[in-house]
């Protein structure tokens, strides 16, 4: 049901029946290692190309989530997926093997919550019994497409972010145990004129702040309603800018705990990731792994996940275009 200007309230309480998270070796060295289902020791995942490795990540996460739900692929009605590759090949190729009716999404790194919001909407409105939402990214395939060859020796500035190798998937169901998706706010595209692809945190921070404020305006609640608000992958730079914007807009973010997934997955002291993490996989594995585990353990009751995406292409920034950004917020609450 529409509430306010850009939010949905899911009155039938679609639940996240199961999740799965698959990551690469570098993420396995980070502090959230206990929260991932599978940690690959080989960055290629035994595939011949980075692109195939990324597809395999999404495929494995999707299969494992379905398995965790105790279902078979035939019982899943729809699959919402997306990734960072041109023409979203990783998700579409994964959908080819999964053979589940498929919606391909592109929201860059906001795809995790875009797919979860749409899945919840479809389930809530009776459009399906079970829906699968999955997304992922691979560090090397993203570097190859958006930046330089992986082995090229270029010095990254301190504002640069490290793309997460990982995929997260969730099965959303009309009924069943598990955390409940209660509402979602769909963001609008914001562009503050940032042109540097090594500074995506600054490009995405205004979109995150805009969506968060829209969420509370639409839902008519205060930030204190949530135990935790997390943004997707703003990392150090974007996180600080977002905090400065909240202060400037007199938004009472201090009522709750505000964190960023991009700052949670790596160990800054031991891992060279500059500002932090990014990529579709970042918010997906942190939310579906770490945060949902915390909800299941009863440490958190209500969280708002705001996945942020930079909607640039390698071509657009070479042509001097600015970086448009988007953020989608999904509210997840403990079930029962």
């Amino acid at each position: 049901m529409l509430k306010g200007h850009q939010s949905w309230v899911f009155e039938n309480k679609p639940s996240i029946l199961s999740t799965a998270t698959i990551v690469g070796p570098f993420e396995g060295q980070g502090p959230l290692v206990e929260d991932f289902d599978i940690i690959h020791g080989d960055l290629t995942l035994g595939q011949e190309s980075w692109e195939k490795a990324e597809k395999t990540l999404i495929e494995e996460a999707a299969n494992l989530a379905v398995e965790h739900a105790g279902l078979t692929k035939e019982e899943i009605h729809f699959f919402f997926g997306g990734d960072l590759m041109n023409q979203i090949i990783s998700s579409s190729f994964a959908a080819r093997t999964l053979s589940i009716p498929y919606f391909g999404l592109f929201g860059a790194c906001s795809t995790s919550m875009e797919s979860l919001a749409l899945s919840a909407y479809v389930v809530n409105s009776g459009g399906a019994e079970y829906v699968l939402a999955a997304t992922g990214s691979h560090n090397a395939s993203a570097e190859k497409q958006f930046r330089y060859p992986t082995e090229y020796g270029s010095q990254k500035p301190p504002t640069a972010q490290f793309t997460v190798t990982g995929a997260g998937a969730a099965v959303i169901s009309r009924q069943g145990a598990g955390p409940v998706v209660t509402s979602a706010t769909i963001g609008r595209v914001m562009d503050m004129g940032i042109t540097d692809p090594f500074n995506m945190g600054a490009a995405m921070a205004p979109a995150a702040v805009d969506t968060i404020q829209a969420h509370f305006r639409d839902m008519q609640i205060e930030p204190g309603y949530y135990d935790l608000i997390v943004t997707g992958d703003l990392s150090k730079v974007g996180y600080e800018i977002a905090n400065a914007l909240f202060k400037k807009h007199n938004f009472p973010i201090e009522q709750t705990v505000y964190k960023d997934c991009g700052m949670m997955i790596y160990n800054y002291e031991k891992q060279s990731v500059q500002a932090g993490a990014s990529g579709c996989g970042c918010s997906a594995v942190v939310t579906y792994g770490h945060l949902l585990n915390r909800i299941r353990r009863g440490e958190l009751k209500r969280i708002l996940v705001v996945a942020t995406g930079a909607l640039l292409s390698p071509l657009s920034y070479q042509q001097g275009e600015t970086i448009p950004s988007i953020a989608h917020a999904v509210s997840i609450e403990a079930g029962g």
Binding site: P149, T150, Q155, M192, A275
Partner: protein, 157 residues
């Protein structure tokens, strides 16, 4: 920010960029220059040592030793690229590892490795010069201009 670029931005965008600029950590230019000086210098010292070895034990003169020296440096760079070490060195060294001939070799080897999955023709062959191509193009153009100036100066004097 360049004035021309600023004109295209709305006042809200300009205000935001001022705020963002204050928060963004800057590249440490001083430290980067020092690191580039040290690492670039070390690569040159290594090159000099290799050249001296060719002269002392290989029977080369200082002039003829230049080519095999460059070849050795290129091979070393390609090996380090293949083992995934060169990009780690470069994060510390910056321009120090990019400017010498080893950086050029790294740019070609890394592109070739990266695009091997697209085949030998459209992948390795076509993409090898993805980064090195502009160095070659502008290197040749610059050499041409310098050559023309040299000829003009020669004819005048």
């Amino acid at each position: 920010m360049a004035d021309q670029k600023k004109k295209k931005l709305t006042p809200v965008q300009q205000e935001y960029q001022v705020l963002a600029n204050k928060i963004e950590p800057k590249r440490t230019i001083g430290v980067n220059c020092l690191r580039a000086f040290i690492s670039g210098g070390l690569i040159c010292v290594l090159g000099q040592a290799i050249e001296e070895m060719f002269v002392r034990w290989g029977g080369f003169t200082h002039k003829t030793a230049a080519s095999p020296t460059v070849a050795v440096l290129i091979i070393l760079s390609v090996i380090l690229t293949c083992f995934g070490v060169y990009d780690k060195i470069a994060q510390w060294a910056g321009a120090g590892s990019a400017v010498p001939v080893t950086g050029f070799a790294n740019s070609m080897a890394s592109s070739a490795i990266e695009h091997r999955s697209e085949g030998l023709v459209l992948g390795v062959g076509a993409s090898m010069f993805q980064l090195a191509g502009s160095v070659i193009v502008y290197g040749v153009v610059t050499a041409f201009i310098v050559g023309v100036v040299h000829i003009i100066l020669d004819t005048i004097s």
